[in-house]
């Protein structure tokens, strides 16, 4: 019951912030509302007893990615803090809203009609132990993920170098 109440609070926070995030015309506010969405999703992971995942979500997403966004907004436009606004065309909003509603209704209907989902087990409320998470993350056996882990670290390095190369100032010739 307490879990259900927590889930409802988190759902309201996530959906409200997400709607504000896509409808506000100021980019800085959109980034702030995205931060609330990310915190809400981290709360969902804590609710699912994935403590490690929630911590990763907070430190990588809410700490790292949001900072990148805020820096980019400040670098891209000096007018942002005074409220960089953006026109929204009425026709595009109407068509986008229509498409979104149709897609959303379809997906939710398919999910709720699916009998496979009804076989959900009642999970015990135990946290996934950190020892098994760590062993699965850096082990090389079956159902262990050291290859993906190393690949992700190389991928991050390549992306950071690529980002630096793309965003550096070209020298005047």
């Amino acid at each position: 019951m307490a879990n259900m109440i927590m889930f409802c609070i988190l759902a309201v926070v996530i959906l409200g912030s997400a709607i504000m995030c896509v409808t506000t015309t100021r980019i800085m506010r959109a980034a702030t509302f995205m931060l609330f969405v990310l915190f809400g999703v981290a709360g969902l992971y804590f609710l699912l007893d994935y403590t490690y995942l929630g911590a990763a979500q907070i430190s990588v997403y809410a700490g790292g990615v949001t900072m990148i966004y805020v820096f980019a907004i400040q670098l891209v436009s000096k007018r942002t803090l005074q409220g960089l606004t953006e026109r929204m065309k009425g026709s595009r909003v109407v068509w986008g809203g229509l498409l979104t509603l149709v897609g959303c209704a379809t997906v939710i209907l398919v999910l709720l009609k699916n009998q496979f989902l009804m076989s959900g087990l009642t999970t015990p409320d135990v946290e996934v132990p950190m020892k098994s998470v760590g062993e699965a993350l850096v082990g090389s056996g079956k159902y262990q993920y050291v290859l993906a882990f190393e690949f992700i670290s190389l991928f991050l390095l390549a992306c950071i170098i690529g980002g630096l190369v793309v965003s550096r100032k070209e020298e005047e010739k």
């Binding site: 436009s77 709720l112 965003s167």
Partner: protein
Amino acid sequence: MIPVQCYFVLSALLFFIGVFGFITRRNLIAMLISVELILNAVDINFAAFNRILYPDSMEGMFMTLFSIGVSAAESAVAIAIIINVYRNFKSDSVDSIKNMKW
């Protein structure tokens, strides 16, 4: 215990809010923020599937973990490109980009 359908409805709503933002906004950074919302909705689905339907395995959890890493890399590259676009075109709207090469 929270039924699994609650998570799916929540993540479907979040996904389509992101899609709506991606369709309607024309600012590069706002579109990127919408993409982040979509990625988060998918991550919720992975974690909920794993935890509620198959609590003994950890595949969905690691999928979510790697997805968080990939999206951090993706947003770093995208932000670099946006800063470069702004430097060349003096605008941060997608409509201003007519050529790939300046």
